[in-house]
């Protein structure tokens, strides 16, 4: 596999009993928090995180160190840390592995982050479906509290920190940070207008830092190794540091979650980590790179960046899937790295059926506050249903694009962009397939089930 990288975040995965405090401690967990809380100042901690240049792992890729710097609490404010474990973006299944396989490292991250940002209270918001992960976390919290690591005097300091889980109850939109805050306050999970951003006015009207589970779980590694050394694991240089979790699902032999340096290529993810395509006779047709909201890539589409100052010039003429996976490189490619969890599709798949499956998801999950999103997502579903069933019109592909375009930039939160971008991406990359479906439908109207027969056979 990839040259000389040894896992950092996942090094305790698979150790028997790693979810218990005794085993976790034996493998080094809580030593960093002890040092952070007893010996380091908030500024020192924030500095290391900044040097690590960790880009938020929840989808938007915002540098965590910069976000923490937005805090400017007044004397009467109480700062809160909220950890986003909603993990609902289709194709994304990485945070769950942290919560279940190494919960104490996540708690250690929460303790360090609380100290760094001046918070005394932290909520880990976990989607309701992950009841088993919540049980594991609650047990870990109880153990750490009994040991005195969480509570009034963590590690003997006079810096009280409380950590609680908070269960969602089924709603994708609660992953959006302001919807999450409303849900945490006991309300419907409807996003809020920004500004004010959570760092200024978040949960219970107090300054709040919202970070993804993986972002927080990597904080102990950053402090332990030092920001610079941690950042240097990345193959993409100083602006996008470290290692991260890559997910891979769909038509590959070994779907799963793998830790690798920032900046491996999609081809490596599929071939080296994912074990190659599920069915050797059916090559890769397209890959959704980072959760369902990110525009699809095609292996037969080449990077067009002849200008020397183009950020992708080094990959000019190469396949899209040979560009290193990073926040900036993927943006330049016209897609997004998102949650870094790829959905791999082989040649058995019709992209109109893919669009139909995904748009049904968005149509179902739109919270309904904003008209362009509520109505637009519904229209996309109706149009695609018609198309797939062979009742489409010549003008439908253009109409799909028009509806999607009208959703962008016209709503409170980024859900509408997350719906429109993959829709537009599918049309852009596979126009012929949409034109053809508008004429003749997609035939089967269902995905090929033969994958099911291959699953047992895969290594």
């Amino acid at each position: 596999m990839s040259n000389s990288f040894s896992p950092v975040l996942t090094k305790r995965y698979g150790i028997e009993g790693s979810e218990t405090l005794a085993v976790a401690e034996k493998h080094g967990v809580y030593t960093v928090a002890r040092r952070a809380l007893t010996e380091m100042t908030p500024d020192q901690l924030k500095d290391e995180v900044k040097k690590g240049s960790i880009r938020g792992r929840g989808g938007a890729g915002f540098p965590a160190g910069v976000k923490w710097g937005f805090l400017n609490p007044g004397p009467d404010n109480q700062v809160y840390l909220v950890v986003n474990g909603d993990e609902s973006e289709p194709g994304t299944f990485k945070d769950r592995t942290i919560m279940v396989k190494d919960p104490h490292r996540l708690l250690e991250g929460c303790l360090i982050a609380c100290k760094a940002i001046g918070a005394h209270k932290c909520w880990i918001y976990v989607r309701g479906e992950l009841a088993h992960a919540i049980k594991v976390l609650d047990k870990a919290i109880a153990e750490a509290r009994a040991k005195g690591y969480i509570g009034a005097t963590p590690f003997g300091t006079d810096y009280p920190i409380d950590i609680y889980t908070h269960s969602g109850a089924g709603a994708y939109i609660c992953g959006e940070e302001t919807a999450l805050l409303n849900s945490l306050e006991g309300r419907r999970g409807e996003p809020r207008l920004k500004p004010p951003f959570p760092a200024i006015k978040g949960v219970f009207d107090q300054p709040t830092i919202v970070n993804n589970i993986e972002t927080i779980a990597q904080v102990p590694d950053i402090i332990e190794m030092g920001g610079d050394a941690w950042a240097a694991m990345s193959r993409l240089g100083p602006a996008d540091g470290g290692s991260r979790l890559y997910g891979i699902s769909g038509h590959v032999k070994r779907p799963g979650v793998y830790e690798a340096p920032v900046g491996i290529t999609m081809r490596q993810l599929i071939d080296e980590y994912g074990g190659g395509m599920l069915n050797d006779e059916r090559p890769l047709k397209g890959v959704i790179p980072g959760g369902s909201s990110t525009p699809v890539l095609r292996p037969d589409r080449l990077v067009d960046a002849p200008a020397e100052d183009h950020p992708l010039h080094a990959w000019h003429g190469k396949s899209e899937i040979d560009v290193p996976m990073g926040v900036e490189t993927y943006r330049a490619l016209g897609t997004m790295l998102g949650t870094c969890c790829a959905i791999v599709m082989d040649t058995s798949v019709n992209m109109v059926d893919v669009a139909r499956n995904l748009m049904r998801f968005y149509g179902h999950e739109s919270c309904g506050q904003c008209t362009p999103c509520r109505e637009g997502s519904g229209w996309l579903v109706d149009l695609l249903d018609h198309m797939a069933e062979g009742k489409g019109k010549d003008t439908d592909t253009q109409l799909l694009a028009d509806v999607a375009n009208n959703m962008m930039g016209n709503t409170i939160c980024a859900f509408a962009e997350g719906t429109a971008m993959p829709m537009l991406g599918l049309i852009r990359q596979f126009t012929d397939e949409f034109t053809e479906a508008a004429k003749n439908g997609t035939g089967a109207g269902r995905m090929d089930d033969s994958a099911l027969a291959l699953i047992g056979a895969a290594p």
Binding site: S167, G186, M345, L452, I455
Partner: protein, 164 residues
């Protein structure tokens, strides 16, 4: 009859409320606590939570209707969610659903003829790498084949008492 929590659950509820700076914030956790006892979130539960948190019933009802996991109708002792989102669909989720519909004698949204299972369609459950998968109550069953699915359901059915 008005809904009540046991003395032990009441202590748990009070402990939960104390975690938050506002009473309202305990709304979701309390609804969960109640639903775990009754199996579904009926009007008595809503009235109970509203009174406990000093909210209007409309406010609590608004919360309940927003989230798909609060059951507004009675469900069987085993709620089966079948994920139909893309990663699962690519690996045969539709066949998994159809097999259960045949086995249960009901379509998605309904309850099996023996009253033991309610079948519901789910959106991505964050187990895409273990597709296809289903959730039964709190537990995930992953990397399913039809044989594995039947074995799982047989086992759960055997543990579930007869009668509706």
């Amino acid at each position: 009859m008005a809904f009540q929590l046991s003395p032990e659950q009441t202590r748990e509820a009070d402990e939960i409320i104390a975690r938050y700076p506002t009473k309202r914030a305990a709304c979701l956790p309390l609804l969960w606590l109640c639903q775990r006892q009754t199996g579904w979130t009926n009007d008595e539960v809503i009235a109970f939570v509203a009174e406990k948190l000093e909210l209007s019933t409309a406010a609590v009802k608004g919360v309940v209707t927003f989230y798909t996991m609060f059951h507004e109708k009675k469900v069987a002792p085993n709620v089966v969610w079948v994920c139909r989102t893309l990663s699962c669909e690519l690996r045969g989720a539709k066949a998994v659903q159809e097999h259960m519909e045949k086995r249960f004698g009901c379509s998605a949204g309904g309850t099996s003829t023996d009253g033991k299972f309610t079948l519901l369609k789910a959106e991505c459950l964050a187990a895409c790498g273990q597709a296809p998968m289903i959730q039964v109550n709190d537990d995930y069953y992953e990397d399913l084949t039809i044989e594995k699915l039947d074995a799982v359901l047989d086992q759960i059915a055997a543990k579930t008492p007869e009668g509706k």
